[in-house]
């Protein structure tokens, strides 16, 4: 068993080292949500009236409303970034090294997932700290309570990244992932507007938003930040994680996916 933990430590450690070496990646991961928070939200504050909906007990500003969505946005972008680096690794060869280890493939992929999720969560806390400097704060224990939700959300989106990386053949095709995965997932969710607002415009869009697992990551984080629990969101996130995890295993199965498609 210790051999497995040695590998876990090494793979997570490598993710950290890569992260430290890529400061631009850290900065862009922080700047993106801050732009939304400090510019977009300021402009939209007047346009969007928010009623009191759970977990909030008073009227809140729009900036406060979108914080959980932006936390989830960091997780989403990181999950995709990690997927992109997997495709890069595969083209560059270092994926081969990982996959020819004697350890089971599912464990190697899980280690990689845990490493990238841990880094995503660190970035979320850096974002929350900066938001707090601008007086956008949550209950103090909410920051602690959100940790498992953030980690679970990171794993779910990282697993989605794994699935995509096993099906995207080349690096160049990655722009498609941005257009067809990241943007629809983000905008068809409760990250920027409560779903009842969406329902007023279109029942169909509301239905899609309600089915979008990303919505449930946002809601799980939102409720935890206010020390409440959203069972439905948890159920969705766990279910989606399991499905994405199984699909990733299938995609990386040596008898079926990944290397079999010869360019």
């Amino acid at each position: 068993m210790t051999g497995w933990l040695i590998a876990l430590r090494a793979i997570v450690g490598r993710e950290f080292l890569r992260f430290i070496h890529q400061r631009e990646r850290f900065l862009s991961a922080l700047v993106r949500p801050l732009v939304w928070l400090l510019i977009f939200a300021a402009g939209f504050r007047a346009a969007l009236g928010l009623s009191i909906i759970p977990p909030y007990q008073t009227y809140i500003t729009y900036e406060t409303y979108i914080v959980p969505g932006l936390c989830a946005m960091i997780l989403l972008f990181n999950g995709m970034q990690s997927s992109l680096s997997l495709v890069y690794d595969r083209e560059m060869g270092s994926m081969r090294l990982l996959l020819t280890s004697p350890l089971p493939r599912w464990w190697l992929l899980l280690c990689r997932l845990l490493g990238s999720s841990a880094i995503s969560v660190l970035q979320v806390y850096a974002f929350l700290a900066i938001a707090a400097l601008f007086d956008i704060t949550m209950p103090i224990w909410g920051y602690v309570a959100a940790l498992p939700g953030l980690f679970l959300g990171g794993i779910m989106l990282g697993a989605l990244g794994l699935v995509l990386s096993s099906f995207v053949r080349q690096l160049e095709n990655f722009a498609g992932v941005m257009n067809f995965v990241i943007f629809p997932m983000f905008f068809l969710s409760s990250a920027l507007y409560p779903l009842w607002k969406m329902a007023e415009s279109s029942e169909l869009l509301y239905g899609i938003c309600a089915l979008n697992p990303f919505t449930h990551v946002v809601e799980l984080i939102r409720f935890l930040l206010y020390l409440q629990f959203n069972w439905i969101a948890l159920f969705w996130v766990v279910g989606a994680t399991a499905i994405f995890g199984l699909l990733a295993l299938w995609g990386y199965d040596p008898a079926r996916g990944l290397m079999k498609r010869k360019a």
Partner: protein, 239 residues
């Protein structure tokens, strides 16, 4: 059963395209075997199957006696690989790259540094242990990869065109070193396009259109012809 590498009745197809057809061969420990084949002969597919990046529904592969399908963990633990593509992390030092690999192979941390020192010294890389890989030239990067592939003391060493892109002296150094490893008892499979890397005493395995064309001592196989001429006469294509 062989302590080296044994492949029996191995076939593989990419959809309708047959890449390998009923390939069988045995390589003994202590032997250097050069695998020659023109482009598209199935070399890359064979390497992917031997490293379990691909799995074939037919045939068996045994590495140091362990069946790759039945006991992949044990089999892969006995296999050292140098891939054609560079697989080093450029932002990590030589030592960090080797430590990462050691962890993937579950090597205990105790005694690891001494083990890394030993393999690096063997390849004259000891003084570069703390340099970042990005700062190394192509020859040193390849030597680092070779050192890394020896870290877990494999019994079978697989090198996929390891000298591509290297200058003549780096190439000669690596070819000589791997021949020494075979002389010390390792089973080596070396794929190449370059006939000057093959010695007459080596085993020669020629793959053509997904099948084994010849397997035997290189000196005997080529007879009086130069190996490249023999190859051309047999396959109709230059190596």
């Amino acid at each position: 059963m062989t302590e080296g590498l044994s492949v029996q009745n191995l076939s593989f197809a990419y959809g309708p395209k047959q890449a390998l057809a009923d390939v069988s061969f045995d390589l003994q420990k202590g032997r250097f075997c050069a695998l020659l084949g023109p482009n598209g002969a199935g070399k890359s597919t064979l390497v992917s199957l031997l490293t379990r990046l691909l799995v074939s529904p037919t045939g068996t592969i045994r590495i140091a006696g362990h069946d790759l399908r039945q006991a992949p963990s044990q089999a892969l633990a006995k296999l050292g690989v140098v891939f054609q593509q560079p697989t080093l992390d450029l932002d990590l030092s030589v030592r960090q790259n080797l430590s990462y690999f050691a962890a993937l192979h579950r090597l205990p941390r105790k005694g690891l540094n001494a083990r890394i020192d030993t393999v690096l010294e063997r390849l004259d890389m000891a003084e570069r242990a703390h340099e970042k890989v990005r700062a190394l030239n192509g020859g040193h990067r390849r030597r680092t990869e070779l050192a890394r592939s020896l870290l877990h003391e494999p019994q079978v060493l697989l090198l996929d065109e390891p000298t591509v892109g290297l200058d003549a002296s780096s190439r000669a150094g690596i070819v000589a070193h791997v021949h020494d490893l075979a002389a010390q008892g390792m089973c080596v499979l070396w794929t190449t396009h370059l006939t000057d890397e093959v010695r007459d005493t080596d085993d020669l395995l020629v793959l053509h259109r997904g099948q084994i064309l010849t397997h035997g001592p290189a000196g005997q196989v080529r007879g009086d012809q130069a190996l490249s001429d023999w190859f051309l006469s047999q396959t109709g294509t230059p190596v």
